[in-house]
């Protein structure tokens, strides 16, 4: 539907009646009644009046700035509703070797940031939300399609992190972020962390309930620091195996028991992170209905162009107008 940015200009529309006040073409000063066609205005007059009305109307409509007001249109794409749950503890600022990054080393958070940028770049149809967690979970960005907003939220991960890691409440927040617009079969939480913590029993129960209700799929991208125990490593007999000493392994076991599709990736280098993100991308690609933004489109130029055409016709008519000269009759041959 066409909308007007300056609707007040439309008040000038009665000016379009001006052509009915005067003739466009000159009237001959010397009346020659015998040249008139039956006492009514010739067809050229009526045509030029119509051209004038159209031209003036088009100009006034153009001045009112007509446009198509944009919005969104549904789009069938391939992707998923993803919540990126990102560890904001300060250990993420260390390199994969577990020390402050120097020279050509990349910190874990910088690697994650760079690869996530690439990830969102390649997947235009995803709706992505971002949540962070340290001691407290925080919702950074509700599920959105705005690439600029997602990029700004990922860029902000470059700031130095906070203190501790409370995985349980972070997961609960991420699972709770899916709204009605997220189809139940395309919801996924991607948790990126370099450690885990013990999840309290109440939180465990809450998580189980949430997972059952929301039906999310869960991915854990574990950024393993050199020297840290892996999540898949089964302790040797005699070695302590408690959630306090091996929180990552026990978190993995807990997530497996959660009753939702779950997959863990262990990455100990930026390349491994890249592979894991690719794999998640391949798994989370199913048809989803999303909205594509439709920009506002300006229509004024069409009206101005039409007006220019009409004014050109009127100018041509003036250029061609002639005063009525007595039509010189064909020389009469006088035969003697």
């Amino acid at each position: 539907m066409i909308a007007f940015a300056h609707p007040l200009a439309l008040l000038a529309l009665p000016l379009a009646l001006t052509p009915f006040l005067r003739r466009w073409l000159a009237s001959a000063p010397v009346p020659r009644l015998d040249l008139r066609t039956g006492g009514e205005a010739p067809w050229t007059d009526r045509l030029l009046k119509a051209v004038g009305v159209v031209g003036i109307t088009a100009l006034i409509l153009g001045l009112a700035k007509p446009h198509l007001p944009g919005g969104t249109r549904p789009h069938q794409g391939h992707g998923a509703n993803l919540v990126l749950l990102i560890d904001r503890s300060f250990s993420m600022d260390d390199s994969f070797a577990g020390r402050a990054p120097n020279g050509d080393e990349e910190s874990k958070s910088a690697a994650a940031r760079r690869l996530l940028f690439e990830f969102i770049e390649k997947r235009p149809d995803d709706r992505i939300g971002v949540a962070g967690f340290s001691t407290a979970p925080m919702q950074v960005l509700a599920l959105t399609q705005s690439r600029s907003a997602i990029a700004a939220a990922i860029a902000a991960l470059g700031e130095r992190g906070l203190s501790q890691t409370d995985v349980g409440r972070g997961l609960a927040m991420a699972m709770d972020m899916f709204d009605e617009a997220a189809a139940p079969d395309s919801r996924a939480v991607v948790m990126v962390s370099d450690g885990a913590g013990v999840i309290a029993r109440e939180t465990q129960e809450a998580l189980q309930a949430l997972a059952r209700r929301n039906g999310v799929r869960l991915y854990w991208l574990y950024l393993r620091t050199a020297g840290a125990k892996g999540i898949f490593e089964i302790p040797r007999p005699g070695e302590a195996d408690t959630p306090q000493l091996r929180p990552e392994r026990h978190l993995h076991i807990f997530l497996q028991r959660l009753g939702v599709p779950y997959r863990a990736f262990e990455a100990d280098s930026p390349e491994a992170v890249d592979e894991a993100i690719q794999a998640i991308g391949d798994l989370e690609s199913r048809p989803i209905l999303t909205l594509r933004p439709l920009p506002r489109r300006d229509l004024a130029w069409i009206f101005y162009g039409l007006a220019a055409l009409m004014a050109g016709v009127l100018a041509a008519a003036r250029r061609l107008e002639r005063a009525y000269a007595p039509r010189s009759s064909a020389p009469t041959e006088i035969r003697p």
Binding site: S27, G55, L63, G132, A136, A152, A300, A308, G312
Partner: protein, 324 residues
């Protein structure tokens, strides 16, 4: 030579030319200086006090900032950060206000005291951290707080600010009457209010004692150099500490403003020279000035004049011929 015919022909020709120019969309290549903003919102417990006409301070801040953002010219970028403990944390870097208004508004609405990773509220240190962060992002700072320091500042007062200040506004939120601070239990359910025994009423007893310590009850130069006046107080109630915030603002090239003064006042304060810090960072963006309405209006005028052009061809047929 101006023959009557060219006088009659000029208006429609001019109208055609003007309308064509308007259709091509000419514009003046003007530029506009915009200042990005980093909004840092205090999410400590005292922001839950409901003394903003029934709204909590956080809710009132959300409502006012949303209006302010809606007021900014397209192209301005606004980022969002939260403050608690002694530092700020950027949620997202500045985004363009028109394209991402929904994001900004939703993120403001989602601000919550539960995001606070610790309970302390060291405002002067958080403010300094936020200033540093805003400077990195080349944006002005809008720091939204009630000025309630918890624990109270040491007797020596806040740290002096050293470094580059990008300037901006401290937006004071809260009422003038001290009001109780809601308290929440482990599961986030509201459970009454903080009482006088829940909070610390004076700075920790480290560093130099207060200047008037000698006159305080229980003072002893060796055994009790701080006196006993710091055992009770009204720190469990919270009001807008305007004086404290004014002082902080003055030392950092910022302007103090109350949230209740409205979005226009915020825009004015943010643009004021006093809020420029050690040099406001402006971003120059092209802001083409559309000239097509101007040409469209000229075309309309010419076309209307055309209908009233002198109509009589009073000259002799020879002059009215193909002279032009």
């Amino acid at each position: 030579m101006r023959s009557p015919v060219s006088a009659r022909l000029a208006p429609p020709l001019a109208a055609a030319a003007f309308a064509l120019t308007a259709a091509l969309g000419p514009s003046l290549p003007l530029q506009r200086d915009l200042r990005d903003a980093l909004i840092t919102v205090d999410v400590t417990r005292s922001m839950n006090v409901r003394d903003m006409n029934g709204l909590s301070r956080l809710e009132a801040a959300h409502a006012a900032l949303r209006l302010w953002i809606a007021d900014q010219p397209c192209g301005t970028r606004v980022g969002l950060a939260i403050f608690t403990e002694r530092r700020s944390l950027t949620l997202f870097e500045p985004v363009e206000v028109c394209a991402d208004f929904a994001t900004l508004s939703a993120a403001l609405a989602a601000l919550d005291w539960r995001m606070a990773w610790e309970g302390d509220s060291m405002i002067s240190r958080g403010l300094d951290h936020a200033l540093k962060r805003a400077e990195e992002l080349k944006a002005g700072l809008i720091f939204v707080t009630d000025g309630h320091e918890a624990p109270p500042l040491p007797y020596s007062g806040p740290n002096r600010f050293a470094g580059e200040s990008p300037g901006g506004v401290i937006l004071g939120v809260g009422g003038d009457t001290p009001s109780p601070i809601p308290k929440f239990d482990d599961l986030g359910r509201e459970a009454g209010f903080y009482g006088p025994h829940d909070v610390q009423h004076a700075p920790a007893r480290v560093g130099p004692p207060p200047a008037d310590a000698e006159s305080r009850p229980g003072f002893h130069p060796r055994n009790n150099p701080y006196g006993e006046a710091d055992l009770e107080g009204a720190e469990h109630l919270s009001a807008l500490r305007a004086d404290h915030l004014q002082e902080l603002a003055a030392g950092r090239g910022l302007v103090f403003l109350r949230l209740s003064e409205g979005p226009q006042a915020l825009s004015a304060a943010f643009a004021a020279p006093k809020a420029a810090g050690t040099g406001a960072r402006m971003r120059r963006i092209p802001a083409p000035f559309d000239l097509s309405p101007f040409f469209g209006a000229l075309a309309l005028l010419a076309l209307l004049v055309g209908w009233f052009a002198p109509s009589g061809l009073r000259s002799s047929p020879s002059a009215s011929g193909d002279s032009s």
